[in-house]
Symmetry: C2
Subunit: 538 residues, 2 copies
Amino acid sequence: MNRAECNDESGVPVRVRLTKEAPMKPLSRKLTFYIPLPTEDDPRSDCERVLDALRPGFGDLRIGFSVMRMLYPACRSQGGQVTATMIWQGDAWHLTRLEAGDTTAFHYGLAADLGSTSVTMELVDLNRGEVVSKATRYNLQRTFGDDILTRIFYGKDQPDHLKELQEATAETLRLLMADLTEQSGVDAGQAAVLVLAGNTTMIHFLMGMDAYPLFLSPYAPVVSAPGFLSARELGLPLEGPVYLFPAKANYMGGDIVSGMIATGISRSEKILLFFDIGTNGELVAGCKDFLVAGAGAAGPALEGGVIRTGMAAAKGAVEHVSIRKDKVRLTVIGKGKVKGICGSGIVDLLAELFLEGVIDFRGVFCPEKSERVEKVEGEWAYRYADASRTVDGQPLWFYQSDIRQFLDTKAAASTMVAYMMDAVGMRFADVDRFCVAGAFGTYINTRSAVTIGLYPDIPPEKIASVGNSSLEGCLCLLLERSHLEEISGILERMQYIQYGAIPNFVETMQAAAAIPSMATQAYPSVKKWVAQRQRGRT
Amino acid sequence: MNRAECNDESGVPVRVRLTKEAPMKPLSRKLTFYIPLPTEDDPRSDCERVLDALRPGFGDLRIGFSVMRMLYPACRSQGGQVTATMIWQGDAWHLTRLEAGDTTAFHYGLAADLGSTSVTMELVDLNRGEVVSKATRYNLQRTFGDDILTRIFYGKDQPDHLKELQEATAETLRLLMADLTEQSGVDAGQAAVLVLAGNTTMIHFLMGMDAYPLFLSPYAPVVSAPGFLSARELGLPLEGPVYLFPAKANYMGGDIVSGMIATGISRSEKILLFFDIGTNGELVAGCKDFLVAGAGAAGPALEGGVIRTGMAAAKGAVEHVSIRKDKVRLTVIGKGKVKGICGSGIVDLLAELFLEGVIDFRGVFCPEKSERVEKVEGEWAYRYADASRTVDGQPLWFYQSDIRQFLDTKAAASTMVAYMMDAVGMRFADVDRFCVAGAFGTYINTRSAVTIGLYPDIPPEKIASVGNSSLEGCLCLLLERSHLEEISGILERMQYIQYGAIPNFVETMQAAAAIPSMATQAYPSVKKWVAQRQRGRT
């Protein structure tokens, strides 16, 4: 699979084109050449002979101790033919490996997204610009807490615990490397470089650092731009360096910066919105001329966390819902009995309840509109799954309080978008593309998301799900080293909005808790859809 | 003891003057300052806050992973007061340590000469420019062979053996650090930096590298200028880096380059000769305008190695000899019975035999001139120690063949000097100072050395014994970082003469085997001393 082309087809902005016009310039280069053997007239050291040979093309190369130890006998065998591996590290090319003979046919890199729940890694053939293999595993940090906060407190002021967290992170990456090796038959440990992105806490844990300061206001990281580190120092069985995507701020981590590279926002002629919705919501608006970013706690509600029957997107979860005349049609992951409902199902359910008039713009049930609305445990609730469909033979209810919770979270997310649009004086009509990152964005029904006001009301073709954009950005950098400069530019140019510091944020948010919003004029399509549905019902 | 002043008194050229006019600029700097705690308006990472604070004075500092891990909680305790340790590494300042509070009162460095036989290390107070403590140990590499060649063959193509040699070298240095700690009460492991010089083979072994290529023509090193390496990577319990003096060529190792820094040859207005006599003889002639170097196998003869009754300068060794009217006066190390004769004793003995007419200018015995000359084991020999003076009650003899051997070695050494003078068109009168490095130079009688033509015939006040100049150069660099530039200049400017490649080297050497030389006109003093002695005898 040619990943670059694949992205092209998927509708995601193309990052790397493997055409003759724009040849790939990967982060890593391998070059084979002949080193003249030393003579009486030329008794330069092996090291000098290698560096002198590479200087015309690579300038003054940096070289570390581990590579010095590879020089001999590599330079004296195979008639002096050697293969050098060099990594562009922004300031200079670094010679990271020297092998005897011609090994240029083997040239791989690794890209990884270090998520707090799961970690994904790809093995990339840098000669062909192809993803050869991909693997995902749960982050072994979960042993020390399912949520990030538990892990942060576990590590706080405890060097031994921080070591455990570091080791669990490294072990996850090692297992992924083993997975890739097994799947592809290519030794991932021989890759030239690993490019990795994660949120700021994940990067701290990978580096064995205390992430407690990230939890306390003003949330200053210990290190925000670690750059290239030695894989060995991080406990990874790799001969080359590891590049860690830098963070702009605690809540604007390397995963977001990487996502910006993937979406191309910072080099786009037109204005993009890049929204990564998860436990936190990170939003970036901009183009090649400006970049504004903000982040806020979107809350786990969006992912089904605080809804009483909510669950992760796994077997038995309702992922899509449609309602017509009190008839509910559910799409269930795994197609069996229903266990609960995941984020994309909740968005559909809310949208359908609203369009069917079962809830009003405030999200309040109108019990007279549906026989499925009943008082359960003292509050109104909607029976979205009948007893016959469920795993335990009990009906599943969507409660008034669930709606409240979800709308609060939705309000936080859409207020971020609205506030930012306002701050930079943009209207939605100015936005050329609304990119939504993450699993949530991949499975969500765009129209439902617009209906409840989670997404802005822009034409559906302008709304793109960019998937794991953190991983994608790593891949982009592996294949095109000039992104390193772009990253520096992003860190310099990006304006960061602290939503917590906005005076009327709470009031604005309350307005945004309506469906789709109190500012209905911003949602003409929703008005139209409501009208269509009403006509359908009568 | 203020070492810089001490050198002044010893007659050795002063390297570092601790005066107000020329303040010391050590390789390492410690600076204490306050890091503002992060605020909502300034949520920069700890790393950025430290680097930003240091930027005005130190430019764009380099920072490694180990220091990143020191940032927290150092930056958040003690009211934000931290102490940074920075090492100037030629290209940039490197932040190598960060501590909470003010630790500037503790600022030490280490200097070490890594010799193949013994290793010497000094602990230096960089705040005062004082050597606090000094220790010497045998090099533990000797387990794998007394001489360098045996060790080279032991390590050849054997990674396990190279690891043993590396470990033995590191262990020697660790023990020396422990010695210094014990002697001074100052933890040498907390020193900011270690500056080390050794010959090319020693540096290869310290780095765990195969030194076999150094043994085979054209003797190209694997690495000649490793620069700053991590102490940890070398197996040393030190938080900072280790600077290894670079070599110009295999036989012009870091110990010689260091010695050049110590003698100041490369910044001298007047012409210096710097001669390091050991198993190899390394010679450098020059001043701030030019530098010419050469090296050749001086052979162990000079240090008493191949003389039948020769021995190292230890208890029982004759270190000085004078002869008048067939009466021999010996100075013996330890003042007890005689076991043998060491290098300085041999030089005296040869000079005295020549001045007394017991040997002629070819070194051939004139048996009629002394009752002490007898045929022993088929060849003429001189009884330099009577049976009553010796440990085993047997007289000690200096044989005709001993003289031949020694004069060949002397010839090699003095030919180097003569050839180089010729090559650069200098006469001895042009030489402002003749610096002799090493233990040999320290104990030798200058007048005897001139008499036999080992040293050029220049006024005795121009001949300086500079002791362990390799160690001295390390100390100089520790105390004055600008020497790093000087080292680069030395490597660039120094012309290297391959004596092996000189067409008539063997013939020239044969002429130089005479006493003091066939070119007697170059030794007017010797002619005068011979005449004085003759008058004394008649």
